[in-house]
């Protein structure tokens, strides 16, 4: 538990402070020293344009991890809103919103995100839009389920009868009940967002060069697979370790929450 907490702290600080530790400018081109192997001067070597790979990885953390954070948070807010409206609104609203949720769920997330980002034109804005549009549905289902079960609980009905405002009910009764489950869904979606961002970047539909996003770096490195294979290892390793750390945190959280409920 503690080691996982430390791991998470390391990642958050990497995303926030990565650029501070970077020894070089991640976009500074240095053609004479292109494709250098790892050395004391360039700890992980340089890429095809002579840019320092370590600096690009560190700067890339704020792109890959930061964007994933933004995307998963927006998705959570939208999904929770939709789910609660479905649970608390009338029967028709519920039916319409849940069929809309089903519709969006009927595409594999990444395929849909590729189509959206590809059609609307590559760029960071469309990347965020594409990933949010394909990730709010699970929050909606969870929020709706909890909303439905709370609606008929005695203390919620009493709070309504006493005349508590809907906002106060939402704040004091719904939010505490929603938070644990939403957090678990959120960690899963955060990991998926990191994978999605790197996949779209790798296909050329995500963050655009020269920005050092990890998937985009893999796309660059792929061409030089034969001459400098190591260049291809680092960005993928960064993605895999981040996702692994977040998934482990999610597992621990889920165990804790189910232990609390027992």
């Amino acid at each position: 538990m503690r080691s996982i907490g430390i791991l998470c702290a390391v990642f958050v600080s990497l995303a926030l402070l990565g650029p501070v530790f970077a020894p070089y400018d991640p976009t500074a081109i240095n053609i004479p020293n292109r494709l250098s192997p790892p050395s004391a001067q360039w700890p992980l070597g340089t890429d095809a344009l002579g840019r320092d790979i370590l600096s690009r990885l560190l700067h890339g953390a704020s792109w890959s991890l930061g964007l994933a954070f933004v995307v998963s948070l927006i998705g959570c807010v939208i999904g929770t809103f939709v789910g609660l409206v479905a649970a608390l609104g009338g029967k028709t609203t519920d039916w319409a919103l849940m069929r809309a949720t089903d519709t969006f769920l009927s595409f594999p997330e990444l395929v849909a995100a590729v189509v959206i980002a590809g059609i609307l034109g590559a760029g960071t804005g469309t990347l965020i839009f594409a990933l949010c549009a394909t990730s709010w549905m699970r929050y909606a289902r969870v929020a709706r389920g909890i909303g439905l079960s709370l609606k008929s609980r005695g203390y919620v009905i009493q709070a309504k009868l006493v005349g508590l405002s809907p906002i106060a009910i939402a704040r004091w009764h719904y939010l505490p009940a929603l938070l644990p489950s939403l957090t678990v869904v959120w960690t899963g979606m955060l990991a998926r967002a990191i994978l999605g961002i790197s996949a779209l970047g790798f296909l050329g539909f995500g963050v655009q060069p020269p920005m050092p996003e990890w998937g985009t770096m893999l796309l660059d490195a792929r061409i030089h697979m034969r001459s400098t294979p190591l260049q291809m290892v680092w960005p993928g390793l960064a993605v895999a370790i981040s996702v692994l750390a977040i998934n482990l945190c999610g597992d621990v959280l889920r165990d804790r929450i189910s232990a609390d409920e027992r």
């Binding site: 069929r99 990444l110 189509v115």
Partner: protein, 312 residues
């Protein structure tokens, strides 16, 4: 039962019409002039304005949103996917060719994935908490965290570049399928191992098993009649999700390995702004997806009659 079937069918229809609408809204709102993009892709050069207008009329882009939507969904309802806006060839035969490359890959990946996951899960669940169990779980967690396209690149690096055992690019010979299938299978195995393992552990935890044991029922019979069926339920539940995961992986893996399957078809169509092709792929995935989830829902009810609706 008939009523639930009917409501499932109704839901499937609503979802399919909804997904057609969502796709069309998206394409309608694509930036730039689609007619210009199509004309440039078709003639591979800068084209005069009258040619662009001609293309616009041909593709039905000059009418309003609803007329265009009607003009688009009409043929789809009778299974006509239209013609490519770039090559002018019919979409359907090309789509069938692409699917012909994709589905053996998907099938092989699922099969290999299960073949890896099942023994690993049984091994891990045989002594929960042991070193062996922990190694299996750690391997599965690591596998689940690896992006499919990166794993594919690493396998190319090892087996095609360094060892030169297997071909990497294209789909000319039968051996071309090995590396992409292995890439996907490892991903499938990673998630299945954990699910099967916890399924088995949960099934062994059922409170009537010790009673059966004390009555003298053989362990093998208990495993066969009470543990295995119970452990299968979560596997069926996640099958829909697993398929989504597989489809996502397929797109990436086909692009990496240069296979002319559905993934390459989709990415090329997006790059060329060939909207009829994009629409066809999106609708096809939606149909497959809805059909699978439909089958899972039904199978689920048969497997465990106690269960209520999965998500309603």
């Amino acid at each position: 039962m008939i009523q639930t079937m009917l409501s499932l069918v109704l839901r499937a229809v609503v979802v399919l019409v909804g997904s057609a609408l969502v796709t069309f809204v998206l394409l309608w709102n694509a930036p730039g002039d689609p007619a210009m993009a199509i004309a440039m892709a078709r003639f591979n050069a800068v084209v005069p304005a009258e040619v662009v207008d001609q293309v616009r009329a041909e593709a039905g882009l000059d009418a309003g949103f609803w007329p265009a939507f009607k003009a688009w969904i009409g043929p789809l309802l009778v299974g006509d996917f239209g013609r490519s806006s770039v090559t002018g060839r019919e979409v359907w035969p090309d789509l069938v060719t692409a699917v012909g490359y994709t589905y053996p890959l998907a099938f092989l990946a699922l099969f290999w994935g299960l073949a890896i996951a099942l023994p690993l899960a049984i091994l891990a669940a045989s002594r929960p908490g042991s070193v062996l169990d922990r190694v299996c779980v750690a391997m599965a967690s690591t596998g689940a965290a690896m992006p499919a396209f990166w794993l594919g690149l690493l396998l190319i690096l090892l087996f095609a570049v360094k060892l030169a055992w297997l071909p990497a690019m294209g789909a000319r010979t039968a051996s071309h399928i090995v590396l992409p299938a292995l890439t996907l299978a490892l991903g499938v195995a990673a998630s299945l191992t954990r699910i099967i393992r916890s399924g088995i552990l949960e099934a062994r935890d059922q409170n009537f098993l010790p009673a059966l044991q004390r009555r003298g029922v053989a362990n093998s019979a208990i495993e066969r009649d009470h543990v295995a069926p119970h452990a299968a339920i979560p596997v069926v539940t996640v099958f829909g999700l697993e398929l989504a995961f597989l489809l996502e992986g397929l797109v990436m893996v086909e692009v990496i390995f240069g296979r002319p399957g559905l993934g390459g078809f989709l990415v090329n169509a997006i790059d060329a702004r060939d909207f009829p092709k994009v629409q066809a792929v999106v609708l096809l995935t939606a149909i497959v997806f809805v059909a699978i989830n439909f089958a899972v829902d039904i199978f689920y009810k048969l497997l465990d009659p106690r269960m209520e609706d999965r998500d309603a």
